[in-house]
């Protein structure tokens, strides 16, 4: 299983690479090599930190290469900011468009008495039919750390509640995203990454 991991300098990749390798994947990393994306079998877009970091994807031409790969049916997984990038954009950096695979924008949690960011282990309400979350039981816990989130829509694969219900995972065909960190979510997270590695085109 070969996986192409996109490095756009949004935080540290070590944990994601480690988890994928642990599962037996052959991992290649690129920060600008479009040819690697053009012949990719699977693409992972990790990312922690600020949505503005995704500007680098536009600057390097990776956005176009990823769009084409998705068009060819290559399984794609966005993690955290990498998932948010799949939407129209984020109010964290309103001037930057996302990929637009999902039409809505990501927004910040509403201010109130709860702490922001949402940090810690929270439960997943998995919806039926997700290939990414196949075999993941209702109510299992995964690790989150984020202040912005995607809305719950028909493409939502799992819902988590913190202040309000939000999309913990999104999936349409070969395009998938998780707001949580599967690489830091123990056995549950490894199972989800394994599902991704086994998704058939």
């Amino acid at each position: 299983m070969r996986v192409t991991v996109i490095d756009y300098k949004a935080g540290n990749l070590t944990s994601v690479l480690k988890a994928l390798r642990h599962l037996g994947a052959e991992v290649e990393v690129t920060d600008a090599d479009l040819a690697l994306v053009e012949r990719a079998e699977r693409v992972v877009l990790p990312g922690v930190g600020h949505f503005a970091a995704t500007k680098r994807l536009d600057d390097t031409g990776l956005t176009g290469a990823i769009r084409a790969a998705i068009g060819r049916g290559v399984p794609f997984l966005g993690i955290c900011v990498g998932m948010q990038w799949l939407y129209a954009g984020s109010t964290e950096a309103p001037e930057l468009p996302g990929l637009g695979a999902f039409a809505e924008p990501c927004t910040r949690f509403s201010e109130g008495t709860e702490k922001i960011p949402h940090v810690g282990w929270n439960s997943l309400e998995v919806r039926k039919g997700s290939r990414l979350l196949a075999g993941v039981e209702l109510g299992v816990f995964v690790y989150f750390t984020h202040s912005y989130k995607g809305p719950v829509t028909v493409d939502t694969a799992a819902v988590t509640e913190y202040i309000e219900p939000f999309a913990a995972a999104v999936e349409r065909g070969n395009v998938m995203g998780v707001q949580f960190h599967p690489e830091k979510s123990g056995e549950t997270g490894l199972k989800i990454l394994k599902n991704f590695l086994e998704v058939q085109r």
Partner: protein, 259 residues
């Protein structure tokens, strides 16, 4: 529903886990990688590794320890001790840490918090604060004094005011140790923890004073802590994080279970 976190803390010296009370009677307690894996397997929600005698010469040893510990660890992993510059932090991240904890160096140069946050995201910066109630202050709790160098040197900074500055500069979490409670096993300083937790919008990890399950109930309730560091409690009747969490869940605290 978001759960409260139980964080296992490993004090490390020269590449080995050590146990001791206030740096006295330190005994060897094993290999960090083995211990971290055991804690994760036994239900800890997160692992913190603190290099308690961080020295310049020890950097290479620490990085090797972090690398070995991170290798098979798939829960959040925070490393602290001796991180003085953004470059130090970068090396620790590259070795496999998800978060770094900064203490003395952040007080000496608060811009360190901004620098690490800019490069690695706020979620990756934990500001550790060691504070002692100041009985001479108008508000001994909110104005508890902040100490550095393992609690040896007073800074004149006040705990709530420093925690707020850390948040403003982009800290993702506060790891708050009560020097009054630390080592007593008589319970966390819930007033201190609540004062800081109410003053900031980021999660607060309580540390110091744990001795019983009730102490954890208190700090998650009255103390308004989002997470708690468990160290010495594992020597006193409760052998694992899972055991502690099951008792806390029974007492009405929401926990990641099964784990």
């Amino acid at each position: 529903m978001i759960t409260k976190r139980i964080i296992a803390c490993l004090d490390v010296h020269a590449g080995r886990v050590v146990k001791g009370v206030k740096f006295v009677d330190i005994v060897d307690a094993g290999d960090p990688a083995t211990q971290a894996a055991r804690h994760a397997r036994e239900g800890a929600d997160e692992i913190v590794l603190l290099d308690i005698t961080a020295t310049h010469e020890g950097r290479a040893t620490l990085l090797d320890t972090v690398r070995r510990t991170a290798k098979e660890l798939f829960v959040p992993f925070c490393v602290g001790g001796g991180i003085r510059t953004a470059q130090d932090a970068e090396q620790v991240f590259e070795a496999g840490a998800d978060k770094v904890s900064v203490n003395s160096a952040a007080l000496a140069d608060p811009a360190l918090i901004d620098a690490i946050g800019r490069s690695f995201g706020a979620q990756a910066v934990v500001v550790a604060i060691d504070a002692r109630r100041d009985l001479k202050a108008a508000d001994p709790v909110r104005e508890a004094e902040v100490f550095v160098q393992g609690g040896r040197k007073p800074t004149g900074r006040r705990v709530v005011e420093w925690a707020r500055e850390a948040e403003q500069r982009g800290a993702g979490e506060i790891l708050l140790t009560s020097m009054d409670a630390d080592g007593t096993r008589a319970g966390f300083d819930c007033e201190l923890t609540a004062a800081v937790s109410e003053a900031v919008g980021i999660p607060v990890i309580a540390s110091g004073g744990a001795g019983t399950v009730e102490h954890f109930c208190d700090v998650f309730g009255r103390g308004k802590a989002d997470a708690a560091l468990a160290a010495s409690i594992f020597h006193f009747g409760i052998s694992t994080s899972r055991g502690l969490k099951e008792e806390l869940e029974r007492a009405g605290v929401s926990m990641r279970l099964p784990c």
